[in-house]
Symmetry: D2
């Protein structure tokens, strides 16, 4: 259970790392949305392995096929199903993992929960599962764009980037940074100086058989006012769930985030000022774009932390499936730092959350 996300734009993913395929079914796309295979593939290319020397060298084209739900380039209202066949399955490469539990992986917990596990490459817990999310995210982005166009307003612009790797912190102007800036460097850090240091750190980690953690920062501009469904489906609650459902995430904060602990109401409250169009706007954004669980029109601003990749090429103490202490020498291909490839995953989940809430909020226009 638990493989669907969303109430009104429902994304269901399936597939394991070393099975036949991974894929997604999206139910709830409004009819007549333009569906562009190229757009979807482009997003998948951003997350695919082998795209740069910083990421895992597993060689997968991750070519997506649309199976249903599209007629003459537009969504039909029926489920949109997409599939990506798994190609580079070196199952033999995982034989040595069959009888032990890799530290900080899902090996033990899957075995304990389900009584069995697909030990090849992490099975369902592999980040390969996010392929379906990224494909769905591309559709969600298009939905947001078309809805905005239908209303004559600017489309939400979702921009995520690698803001920190280890102690290397980027200096980025969140008000202006765009997708093109992020894509300039394989690190997906738009601060060239920081990106350079991050690159050397990641390469050094790979040489050392180690791995690195870091932080992805996200801003979303041109967010419609009114998204979010209190009390449980507050927008920040759904964003937090979306982020924390990604592999390797350990925390989420929005607006002031953990810094709010040390602030006082006087400094934290965002004063309202009359906006250019008469709409109230805030002169600061400690709220991070949400108040009372609902977007207020200010940019969404949040951060998600990713742990260092659990797979490392160093000897580690662990236990076998029969309960004995053993030593693991990891051999598989892996990312020494998941951050660059995490960016499109974060972007996708943000788009899915916003698409879901855009449809949900639409009900309030029913009475004119």
């Amino acid at each position: 259970m638990g493989n669907s996300f969303g109430h009104s734009f429902v994304v269901t993913t399936y597939g394991e790392s070393h099975g036949a395929a991974v894929g997604v079914v999206i139910d709830g796309i409004p009819a007549r949305l333009p569906i562009d295979l190229h757009e979807i593939q482009t997003e998948l290319d951003r997350r695919r392995p082998g795209q740069s020397r910083l990421v895992t060298q597993r060689d997968e084209a991750d070519a997506v096929e649309i199976l249903s739900g599209v007629h003459e380039g537009r969504s039909t209202g029926a489920p949109l199903a997409m599939i990506v066949r798994n190609a580079d399955q070196r199952s033999g490469a995982y034989d040595h993992l069959k009888d032990l539990y890799r530290p900080s992986h899902a090996d033990f917990t899957y075995d304990a929960k389900y009584g069995l596990r697909t030990w090849q490459g992490g099975g369902r817990s592999s980040a390969r599962e996010t392929i379906g999310r990224v494909a769905a995210g591309a559709v969600a982005v298009r939905l947001l764009r078309e809805v905005a166009a239908a209303s004559g307003v600017s489309a939400p612009e979702i921009v995520s980037w690698v803001d920190q790797v280890q102690d290397v912190k980027a200096d980025v102007d969140a008000a202006t940074v765009g997708r093109a800036d992020i894509e300039l460097d394989p690190t997906r850090c738009p601060d060239p100086g920081a990106a350079e240091i991050m690159t050397s750190r990641i390469e050094q980690a790979r040489k050392d058989g180690d791995s690195l953690g870091g932080i992805v920062r996200t801003v979303v501009r041109n967010v419609p006012v009114g998204l979010g469904e209190p009390v449980f489906d507050r927008l920040e609650a759904d964003l937090a769930k979306a982020m924390m459902s990604l592999p390797a995430t350990k925390g989420f904060e929005i607006g002031s985030g953990f810094a709010a602990a040390t602030m006082t109401g006087r400094t934290h409250n965002d004063p309202f000022v009359p906006g250019p169009d008469g709409q109230p706007t805030t002169s600061t954004n400690n709220s991070g774009g949400v108040q009372g669980g609902i977007t207020n029109g200010a940019p969404l601003a949040f951060r998600t932390v990713f742990k260092p990749t659990a797979t490392i090429s160093s000897a580690q103490s662990t236990v076998s499936t029969s309960g004995e202490a053993v030593t693991l020498e990891a051999k598989g291909r892996h990312d020494p730092c998941v951050l660059p490839r995490a960016v499109p995953m974060v972007d996708a989940m943000v788009a899915i959350v916003l698409a879901d809430h855009t449809i949900r909020q639409h009900r309030n226009s029913l009475l004119g």
Copy 2:
């Protein structure tokens, strides 16, 4: 929409701050669970206003009535409905708020989303809404206890406390701290030295017409292995959503949390060692008790940050509902720091998440 939480233990809350009542309906309680009104009331007493000089002086007994779903002290399998009448409704006290938007409150966003709002005391966005959650949490705790008893294991022990207020940080032994320690002081900080400073800070903030933020820390011991439903309903994802659905929260982190950014795989990975009963255990707990979205038997360990109360007794710049700049002089009763009363809310949501996942995981025992 969005007023239900959970898949298999479904909690639906209703009610506004100054309406007739607040309440909750729980659907999915397994039959024959002992239901103890006193237990539920005790939890409500932990969150009620007026319990100490540190919190709002609104005077509400918050006496709960069970309306359905119980027969001779046990759950019947039918929905358990509970209601708490609102008593101390000084609606007139809010008249001055009718025509303006309080900074960092939900006034503007509710108006923008719904086209109207209940401006008395925050309406649905009031923390009074959490009464239903806390009542449901008490039932969830009992469920966890009875399930454990039926299996002859120790019940999960959920312990949350105020770990930080402003820059005052508690020094607490997370391995041993218990509910009784937390309840010793009105701050709900079990470090007496820190609690004393927190108390003076909160009292000073009240005098200054200001408010304070802080962090609630939670550990859950005796967690069954196997809770969590990948990929979207990972346990940490549902916990994050639960926390971020509480009023005033700005962030959530589990295990290493944001500190994971600066760690490497070698230091972050939790080595498995053979446990006393042959089960693998980890010698560290950077995972925070979850791996691959599933509990591994180590204590759940996470932190939730709360912003300073938005209501302050100082003049603030804001705008009127007609779009003009105005000054707000807040007068209502309020908490200068929500942290002490947030503790039972956090406890409740944790229990609800665990109860929901306990039922969900039970399916995997169907085949023996």
Copy 3:
């Protein structure tokens, strides 16, 4: 579980026959819907006991109170909670039922499923549970009316009536019959001749200590084209579920219904003809207003069968809870025929289904 109905207009009911109260929470009402307590009470009065000599003489005013979700007469977007206190609880009247299972009641199955039951008056399986549905139905009707008004079209007109009691069949012009016609007679049969015979049959059944079954027929005129969500949430599927979730129902048929078995494609197919406004209409309505699971603009036309009331005042063979053969002499107050009171329950569930699907279909207007 299973106490909520609907995807986007979610109705959750709670309460037992002889508990403190019955009630309902509606989540998903679009904001700014006028909410009129009088309208809701009027529908409850149609279903309440004691309204005529044909129905149970249990004396309950069934006065509804709105607890939340309304501000100055309009829905706020928050859950609308309503409660009806149980008044006439003669619990002692049921003592003789504690230790046996009444035939064709839910006594045995509740005990078997849950391990206990509230044996007073049927507990949760009592038709008293439908109070919440009827209250929610009144809100749904208002929603349908306001949505139609906002579009400048005629509102859906839901008309259900008692079409058959035993072998007494009404002769009614489904094209023109209105709510006022139905309310003219306590039987809720708008054919005066049939109503008179039905009345004498029902009175005779009461004298005989027996009970009668029958059929409720429903037409809905002015149904918007396009309601229904294939493939599982076809409109007729949701209608069937709605009807079959009412107490005492044994069957549902739409359009040609069971008569379709003996028809051929040539006679069953509904020819399209150009309609007055250029829209295709059908010259017959064997489809019953739905094609492919979606409304086609023709009137919805369906029938629901209700079994004879299980409670009868005659001696019956049954078994005790300890498994021995015993004789039951029923004594409680009851309806000798549920049909007249079933009409408002059917009306309510139809309105709820249509409201839910109206909101769901609205998404397809998102792109203009």
Copy 4:
């Protein structure tokens, strides 16, 4: 929306008649269930076209591939995805349908709802969509069997057959008829005499360019007591929805069904008698195996009516998409009577409902 069915055993189907593929994702299968591709394919072979001269001659092997969720022959707890590629797509054969609305098909309603439609072969409204259901049903059957085996009881035996075609009614002993009896004849009517007449009627209808309706009857023996989730998810409500979500169904009745209208309580009530194992059993089964929405251990007994196939090879009056009266000469391949192929679809949906409710009921064993 609306393409998922079930709460705890969730079946999501996708795919159109003439798209790339149809398929299904099942979420919620308990771990370690044996998954047998051959079993699944066998069920698909029962519904595939071209299996006899009575059904459509569209030639599709409908070979199923499992994409995920299985490891060494057992379910992993992850989603089980299955796909069937569409092979015999003569899209050109449908060109003449592009600009008109076939009577009693979904052409008009899909166009009206979604603003476009896949006019080739019915698109999503095609019975080809049920491939995913039938594949999921085979998994559900296996689940029911394994759950029964784990408890040492007999597995539920689901037996559906063609009970009526036009006015030809079968005479079948519902207490003993088995799957093997049904499969003896291509009509899937286990009464040889009736089957012979049905066959000639169907062949005549094909020659006449006409089509026939009929009734599928279902019994389920060895049903566990306690399945069904009042009040909305009563077992009969979910069965009714399941049946009415199948293409071409017009009605559903359980137990006494529509005959209940003419019965009285004395004749309708099912007397309880002490059963062989001390459990109460009923001496009649007007209830159809459910009381108060919950199974009572008696066989489930219900009937589903299917309309005559809408596609006929006769000239029909209809309108064009531009609103003009036109004549349609149907040419596509089709079933002159859907009943024989409807049997495995009904079987599948019954199994899915029972699997879903088996998991849901399992919660009530949580407390021992």
